[in-house]
Amino acid sequence: MLRYTSRRILQMIPVLLGTTLLIYAMVFAMPGDPVTALFGDKPVNENVADQIRAEYNLDEPFIVQYLLFLKGIFVGDFGITFSGRPVIDIIARVFPTTIKLAFMALIIEMVLGVAVGVMAGIRKGKLFDSTVLMLSLVVIAIPTFVLGFVGQFVFGIELGWFPATARDASIGSLLMPAVVLAGVSLAYVIRLTRTSIVENLSADHVRTAKAKGLSGSRVTTVHVLRNSLIPVVTFLGADLGTLMGGAIVTEYIFAVDGVGSALYDAILRSEGTTVVSIVTLLVVVYIFANLLVDLLYAVLDPRIRYA
C-alpha cells in the first residue's frame, strides 16, 4: 500500500512538470505585451518598461522564466500579478469558494445520481427506467451555459426561489450554480450506476443471495450496490478535477468569485503567472483526487490489494 502510493506520487512528477510546461508555453505565446498595456493610453517609458520586465523576469528566455517559476512554486512563492498583488492572495480568495461549489455539486451527483441510478436499474425496461435514460441524454445534449442562464432566469428572476447571482458565496446562493455545474455529470452518474446495477443484478452471487431468502432491499444494498459503486467512484473522483476546472462557464453566468472567473479574467489580461499558478493547483487537485479513488478501490472491493 505504502509502496504503491509512493510509486504513484513519483509518477505524478513528470505529469505535473509536463502540464505546467505546456500551459506556461501557451501563456508565453499569448499575443500582446502586458507591460506596454500597463501604460494604457500614455506613451511608454522604455526605461520603466524595462525595469518592470526585469522585475517579472520577462526579459529572460522562455525556459529560464519557466524554471524560475518552478523554483518559486517549490518554496511556496506563486509570484505577483502586474497590479502588484501576490498571486497567493488571489488563490486564497477564490479557491475556498470553488472548492465549496465543487463539493456541493459532487454531493448532488453522489446522492441524487446513485439514488436515481439504482431505482432505474432495478426497474430495468420499465417506464421509470426509460424516462430517466431519455432525460439524462437530454441533459447531456443541452449545453451547460443554456441550462445555466435559463435556470438563472426561471428560478432566480421569475420565481425568485434562489438568488440570481452568487457573489457572496453562501451555501444558499451557491445551490443553483451547484445544480447547474452538476447537471451533465449527474446524468453520467445516473447512467453509469444504472448500467452497473443491471449488470450486477444478474451476477451469480446475487442469485445465491436471493435463493437463500434474503429480502430484496438487503440484496440490493449489500450485494448489488457495493459492487456497482466501483465504476461510479472512479467517475466521481475524476469528476472532482473537472468540476473545479470546468466551473468557468457556471461561475461566469452566476458571477461566482471563484477559480473559473479568476482564471478567465487572468487569461483575458494575459496574466501569465496567475494562469499558470491556478492551473498548476487544479492539476494537483485532479491528480490527488484520482490517487484517492484508486486507494478507495481497496476499501470497496476487498479483492483489490496494493502490494
Binding site: V15, M26, E199, I248, Y252
Partner: protein, 320 residues
C-alpha cells in the same frame, strides 16, 4: 445378460422413440453449414440495431441534419446573413416562419444554415481525435514497455488539463482571426486522450488473445498482427466513444462561442446566436429557443446513436 447394444426403435415397452443409428445421417456435432450466413459481432449488432427504435429515430434525425448541412437552400430561401434593423425582433410572417432576432436576421434561416458550422466542427474534430488518439493509443498498447510508459505519461499530461480552459488559452492566441479550423484543431489537440486510452486498453486486451498468438505462431509480423487482427477488434469501443463525443464537441464549440472565443460573427453558428439571444430571454425567448433546440436535437441524435450502437455491440446488454 443385459442388452447393451444401441436400443432399437421398435422394442416393446419403450416409452420414447429413439431413432436407430442407420436412420440418422452421420453428422459432426460442430459441423458448420457453408450455405448459412456466418455471424459476426457486427452482423449480430446490426440485426439488433435495426429493431431498436432509438437507433431508427437517431439515424433518421442524423440523415435529416446531414441533408440540411449539404443542401440548406432546400429548406429556406431566406439569406441568413441578410439582416436589417427594420426587421429587429419582427413577428413571424410569410417566408419567415420563426420571425427575426435582434439584428433583424431571419431566425429560421440562421437555424438552418447554422447546422454547417456545428456539424463541421463536430465531424472534423472527431476525425482528428480518432486519428491522433487511435494511433497513439494503438502504438502504446501494442508495443508496451518504455514506449507505453512514455505515451501514457503524455496522455496523463493532456488529460489533466481542463479541456475548456486549454481551448480558451490557445484560442486567445488567435483571438482576432478565429476560423473553424482553429476550433477543430484546438478541440482535437486536447480531446484525443480519451480515445487513446480506450484504444490502448482494447489493444492490450486483444493482443494477448489466442488468435493473435496463433497468428504470431504462423509467422505474422507484429505490424501485420496489429493492422489485421488487433485493430479490427479494438474498433468497436472507439466507434461508440467517437459518436458520443461528436455531440460533445458541438457543445464545446457553442460554449467557446458563448465565452466570446468562438467563431466570428461572419459565420452563422448556433453557439453565437444562443449567446447573443441570452439578453432577450424575457422579451423574445424564441430567438434563444430555436437555435438552442436545434443544437440540443443535433447533439442528442449523435448521443442516442452512440448509445444504441454501444448496446448493440455489447453482448452482455444485448437481448436475444
Amino acid at each position: 445378460m443385459p442388452d447393451t447394444s444401441i436400443p432399437r426403435a421398435t422394442r416393446a415397452g419403450q416409452q420414447r422413440y429413439v431413432a436407430p443409428l442407420d436412420e440418422t445421417p452421420l453428422q459432426g456435432v460442430d459441423a458448420v453449414s457453408n450455405e448459412s450466413d456466418g455471424s459476426s459481432l457486427w452482423k449480430d449488432a446490426f440485426r439488433s440495431l435495426i429493431r431498436q427504435p432509438l437507433f431508427i429515430i437517431s439515424g433518421l434525425l442524423i440523415l435529416l441534419i446531414l441533408v440540411v448541412v449539404a443542401f440548406p437552400w432546400l429548406f429556406t430561401s431566406a439569406d441568413p446573413t441578410y439582416c436589417t434593423l427594420d426587421n429587429s425582433l419582427a413577428e413571424p410572417r410569410a417566408g419567415h416562419p420563426l420571425g427575426f432576432n435582434q439584428q433583424g436576421c431571419d431566425i429560421y434561416a440562421r437555424v438552418i444554415y447554422g447546422a454547417q458550422a456545428s456539424v463541421m466542427v463536430g465531424a472534423f474534430t472527431t476525425l482528428g481525435v480518432v486519428i491522433i488518439g487511435g494511433i497513439i493509443g494503438a502504438v502504446a498498447g501494442f508495443y508496451g514497455g518504455w514506449i507505453d510508459a512514455l505515451l501514457s505519461r503524455i496522455m496523463d499530461i493532456f488529460f489533466a488539463l481542463p479541456f475548456v480552459l486549454a481551448a480558451i488559452v490557445v484560442l486567445q492566441l488567435v483571438r482576432d482571426s478565429i476560423t473553424v479550423w482553429h476550433i477543430i484543431g484546438v478541440l482535437a489537440a486536447f480531446g484525443w486522450t480519451q480515445i487513446a486510452r480506450i484504444t490502448r486498453g482494447a489493444v492490450i486486451s486483444t493482443k494477448n488473445s489466442d488468435f493473435v498468438t496463433a497468428s504470431t505462431a504462423v509467422g505474422a509480423s507484429p505490424l501485420k498482427n496489429l493492422v489485421r487482427h488487433v485493430l479490427p477488434n479494438a474498433i468497436a469501443p472507439v466507434i461508440v466513444t467517437a459518436t458520443v463525443s461528436l455531440g460533445i464537441y458541438i457543445v464545446a464549440e457553442a460554449t467557446l462561442s458563448y465565452l466570446g472565443l468562438g467563431l466570428p460573427s461572419t459565420i452563422v453558428s448556433w453557439g453565437a446566436d444562443i449567446a447573443s439571444a441570452q439578453t432577450l430571454i424575457r422579451t423574445n425567448p424564441e430567438a434563444l429557443f430555436f437555435p438552442a433546440a436545434a443544437l440540443a436535437v443535433t447533439v442528442l441524435s449523435f448521443i442516442m446513436m452512440g448509445d444504441a450502437v454501444r448496446d448493440a455491440l455489447d453482448p452482455k446488454a444485448r437481448t436475444r
